[in-house]
């Protein structure tokens, strides 16, 4: 009988599941593939509809989780092998080398200051750069630097300046064995790459960006220090459009996301309001198919966005974006569904709201775990109504967006995180009783 649980993915859902499990007396191994815990929520500027600063409400939870005496963080790690059955899984974890000694590094960042090599900053959605030796973001946990070998020029400066002598460029991947009674999958989502839809010109037109990029541009800790400027010329955009359902509710074969991603309407309205707070004179237009503002407090928020902030809502799914070569202004072609006339309107900045898709690597992970995936590649539930927390393998549970848009938003993810903790206790205490 193992009183230990493995949680895969350290976003807000995985953190909640880990905390609740640990507080119930389980030993928890929280496995995260990136160098820091925090997940997608760490990248967001504010959360809807309360407009809480995302990092401000997340950071205390991250710290609490990392300080919990029975939670063991395994960051920069991946699940390699899983064998066994409920109550008795044998797990192999592969810990990727940071090329920095975890026990010695204090996270002071002196190495990053002297590092001459730069690479795109993933945390800022590749807007701006970070050094080859870096801390993913200021509040990252654990506070241990990482050396990105792809960007590294092997100059050895970091080694020279490190006061703790923590740099170890010879570090090897490490294999860790765990015995756990149950597993919680909380691997979250990725964003669909809108350049797959050529009509929208993402990556071809500088002033067509994604919502996550906008999130980083609005955030005070982002690459522009929270100043909303457009990529082509660094000017403040005055006329901004959002396009909903980019790759969602799209049955075209090469896209095949017929589902509604279920959060985009909500965050687009939030971002529109944030833009108005940054630049009260800005004009913001949201192109949408259906305004799906479900969830507590949200219809009220949409009503406010219209009446108080003057956000314009146009029910239309634009067909194409072209670019004014002189100004780099994207021009949206859309049909007014009532008059059935086509309009071409130039904007300073266009924000695409892409579909949320299964996180990269989930297919491999599913094979390792033996769990089934659904048609879209999300983790399949035993029964979407009756058993909304169980995967197709007994003893393995799932929460958060890895099960697809069933989840929705942050409170849904947290509720599911807590709920998986109850499911785990149920199977593990059942076993104890028998």
């Amino acid at each position: 009988m193992q009183k230990a649980v493995m949680v895969i993915g350290a976003g807000i859902d995985g953190i909640q599941a880990s905390m609740d499990l640990a507080n119930k007396g389980f030993k928890v191994y929280l496995v995260e593939k990136s160098p820091s815990i925090g997940g997608r929520m760490a990248q967001l500027d504010k959360t809807f509809p309360t407009m809480d600063c995302s990092m401000c409400i997340l950071a205390p939870k991250m710290i609490e989780c990392s300080h919990h005496p029975t939670v063991k963080l395994l960051t920069y790690s991946e699940v390699k092998e899983v064998k066994g059955s409920p109550g008795n899984f044998k797990v192999k974890i592969l810990k990727k080398p940071r090329y920095v000694d975890e026990a010695k590094c204090t996270g002071c960042g002196i190495c990053a200051q002297s590092c001459p090599a730069e690479a795109p900053n993933e945390f800022d959605e590749n807007i701006g750069v970070r050094k080859a030796v870096y801390m993913p973001f200021p509040q990252a946990i654990p506070r241990i630097m990482v050396i990105d070998k792809n960007g590294c020029v092997e100059c050895g400066l970091c080694d020279k300046v490190c006061p703790a002598k923590a740099v170890n460029r010879e570090q090897k991947p490490e294999e860790i064995q765990l015995d756990v009674g149950a597993i919680v999958v909380a691997t979250g989502f990725d964003m669909f790459d809108p350049s797959i839809i050529p009509q929208y010109g993402y990556k071809r037109y500088k002033n067509v960006i994604t919502a996550m990029e906008l999130e980083r541009l609005l955030c005070a800790s982002g690459p522009t220090g929270g100043h909303l400027i457009r990529p082509s010329d660094g000017k403040i955009p005055r006329h901004i459009a959002f396009i909903q359902c980019v790759g969602s509710r799209d049955r075209r074969e090469w896209i095949n996301h017929s589902y509604c991603s279920s959060i985009c309407c909500k965050y687009a309205v939030k971002d529109a309001v944030l833009i108005k707070e940054h630049e009260p004179s800005a004009l913001v237009t949201i192109f949408y198919i259906d305004m799906r503002a479900f969830g507590k407090g949200f219809q009220e928020f949409v009503n406010r966005a219209k009446s108080e902030f003057g956000i314009e809502f146009i029910r239309s799914n634009p067909g194409e974006i072209t670019e004014d070569q002189k100004t780099s202004n994207p021009i949206i072609s859309f049909e007014d569904p009532v008059t059935r006339t086509v309009h071409n309107v130039a904007f300073d900045l266009v924000v695409l709201c892409p579909a949320l898709i299964p996180t990269q690597g989930v297919e491999k992970l599913a094979k390792t775990l033996g769990v089934e995936l659904d048609n879209y590649g999300f983790v399949k539930l035993k029964d979407s109504v009756k058993n909304p927390l169980d995967t197709t393998v007994p003893g393995i549970f799932a929460c958060g967006y890895c099960v697809g848009p069933k989840t929705g938003d942050i409170p849904d993810s947290i509720t599911q995180g807590s709920a998986t903790a109850a499911r785990v206790s149920n199977i593990l205490s059942d076993k104890e009783a028998s």
Binding site: H67, K386, P411, I414
Partner: protein, 590 residues
């Protein structure tokens, strides 16, 4: 003999949140000049691990016995800094927070000079109070390993079973004779189209068979006293009153399906104008037959104004009822502003069921926005493939229902696509109505002291981060009592509430509030005003003197403010401490 205060001040840049406006190094230098301050420094993020390590290090190095962090809000960060102090051997109540972000840099973003001056004022006040802080202890209470679950719908039964299977005793009460709540009235569930009984029956059987669950139907909560870990509840049912002692409570009392007032879309006037849930009942009894056309109207009573003042009368007269009455009054104009979330799916489900039984029936759904949220888009496709007709109508103009001279129902509306009026003769008109707060909930919320939101549903402790907790420790919410949810979401919230409650019960002990009221018996005249004013029932006058039951005290300070003899002071917020803060504000140092 009191030790000499040695205060350390830690000033946070919070990235550019504070540092971009306030001159943090200047404030740091200023802090060093203040009385009792032995150390001051600034950090990029005081809440980061490095920042916390710096606090702990400075406590040791400079023998600090008081800590001030000037940063953001105590609402999110105070527990973190308190723990850092505790880990370095300083009592967690010898900590004071100065909010120079929300109270300063954010609101004075364009006045850096004045903001810096104000930050100094705020820091000076915090230091003045910090010097007078005293150590406090958080009392520990035992948690009884039993739970009371109110409501035996899907969420309540799921929560009860989850806790019972972990070995906790559960008292499950249900006001109706039968278990199952609203789900009982549903025929089939989306998107699997499983019979609702397929979920309910096994659940009911497991609940009835579980030895750890004591089930009481036709039973309601009559009264509750006590506190986290130790609630005394009086349950009233067919066999009279029964007292139970529990450590936690889960409120899963559900919601109601909104019944339109008579006349709304001719409901209650024409027989064949029904609600979606009534259609469910007809479908389950096979009574629908083969009508030529069914027209469904979405968002009836949701998102717009169709609540009548007469709906208010049934509410009991009490403070909370007043609040709800106010809410309802506001709704008279704009209706329930929220979206009920489930009605779009419910309509589609029933449309599919009709089509499957009677393919030739023309089913028309009139909608404003189609909120087929989540992965249910495929279900929507299924309805379209079955040739259910979806017509987006102009929402501002409500569809009109009349009877033709032949006695046939007719729905007239404006098509949003063409802007033209369209008319549909119909055999049945089905109104999709939202879930609305239960009327009984008002009394329940009042008894348990859970606040009600402006939408009339019970409020969670934090809309984002604590969706199944309430602001009453030891009391949790599950299911539609906090807002519309479908069956799977109700199951998930039931499990989540069970997890949260079982953490408390499993740990057997919990630390509670240290900031409580203290009575100076010398000054107390036993007038009993405190007893009257306290919302938590903490003070009791015995033998002419007020006694505070600490465990009930939530530290709100109402009694302290009200006491005519100034006999009641608050721990951590004593008059001398607050006055020192005010004095510091009024006497700026260079």
């Amino acid at each position: 003999m009191k030790e000499e205060p040695r205060v350390g001040v830690f000033i946070c840049h919070c990235g550019i949140n504070i540092g971009g406006v306030v001159n943090v190094p200047e404030v740091t230098e200023y802090a060093k000049s203040l009385q009792n301050v032995k150390h001051a420094e600034n950090n990029l993020y005081t809440c980061s691990e490095a920042g916390l390590a710096a606090i702990k290090e400075a406590i040791k190095k400079h023998k600090l016995n008081r800590v001030v962090v000037a940063s953001c809000t105590p609402r999110t960060h105070e527990p973190l800094f308190r723990s850092a102090c505790e880990e370095a051997g300083v009592n967690r109540y010898l900590f004071e927070m100065a909010n120079i972000r929300e109270h300063c840099s954010w609101v004075h973003a364009h006045e850096p000079k004045e903001a810096t001056k104000k930050a100094k004022d705020i820091v000076r006040m915090a230091v003045a109070k910090a010097a007078l802080l005293e150590p406090q202890t958080e009392p520990e209470v035992d948690v009884k390993d039993a739970s009371l679950v109110i409501g035996a719908g899907i969420a309540g039964m799921t929560a009860a079973l989850s806790m019972a299977n972990q070995g906790f005793k559960v008292h499950l009460i249900e006001k109706e004779k039968e278990l199952g709540g609203l789900t009982q009235r549903l025929y089939k569930l989306y998107p699997t189209l499983a019979d609702s009984s397929e979920i309910l029956e096994p659940l009911i059987k497991s609940v009835e068979a579980n030895r750890n669950i004591e089930l009481m139907t036709s039973t309601t909560l009559k009264d509750v006293t006590g506190y986290i870990g130790n609630f005394d509840a009086v349950l009233t049912g067919p066999e009279g009153d029964k007292k139970v002692n529990v450590g936690t409570i889960i409120v899963a009392s559900g919601s109601s399906n909104y019944t339109p007032p008579q006349g709304l879309y001719q409901y209650g006037i024409y027989d064949h104008v029904i609600t979606q849930i009534e259609l469910d009942e007809m479908l389950s009894k096979g009574k629908i037959g083969h009508p030529k056309r069914i027209v469904m109207i979405q968002c009836v009573g949701a998102r717009k104004g169709e609540i009548r003042p007469s709906d208010l009368e049934a509410f009991p007269k009490s403070d909370t009822a007043d609040l709800l009455r106010k809410i309802l009054k506001a709704r008279k104009e704009e209706g329930w502003p929220y979206l009920s979330k489930i009605c779009c799916m419910d309509a589609k489900k029933n449309a599919i069921l009709v089509k499957e039984k009677s393919p030739k029936t023309d089913v028309v759904i009139l909608f404003g926005d189609l909120r087929v949220y989540k992965e249910y888009e495929d279900f929507y496709r299924k309805a379209r493939d079955l040739e259910v007709r979806f017509i987006r109508h102009i929402e501002e103009v409500s569809p009109e229902i009349t009877k033709t001279s032949e006695g046939e129902l007719q729905v007239a509306t404006f098509d949003a696509m063409s802007g033209l009026e369209v008319k549909f003769p119909a055999d049945w008109v089905v109104l999709s109505t939202p879930l609305i707060p239960n009327k009984d909930e008002v009394m329940l919320a009042r008894m348990l002291k859970i606040p009600i939101g402006t939408d009339g549903f019970l409020m969670e402790a934090h809309l984002k981060l604590r969706p199944v907790d309430t602001n009453v420790d030891g009391v949790f919410i599950a299911g539609t009592v906090s807002g519309p949810k479908d069956v799977s979401e109700s199951i998930i919230s039931g499990e989540a509430a069970a997890a949260r409650a079982s953490i408390l019960m499993g740990n057997k002990k919990v630390r509670t509030e240290a900031i409580t009221a203290v009575v100076d018996e010398e000054l107390c005249i036993g007038c009993g005003l405190c007893e009257e004013i306290c919302p938590y029932g903490a003070p009791k006058v015995e033998e002419g003197k007020s006694k505070i039951l600490e465990i009930l005290c939530r530290g709100c300070g109402s009694c302290s403010a009200e006491c005519p003899r100034q006999a009641i002071t608050m721990r951590h917020f004593g008059d001398h401490q607050l006055l020192a803060q005010v004095k510091a504000l009024l006497t700026p140092q260079a």
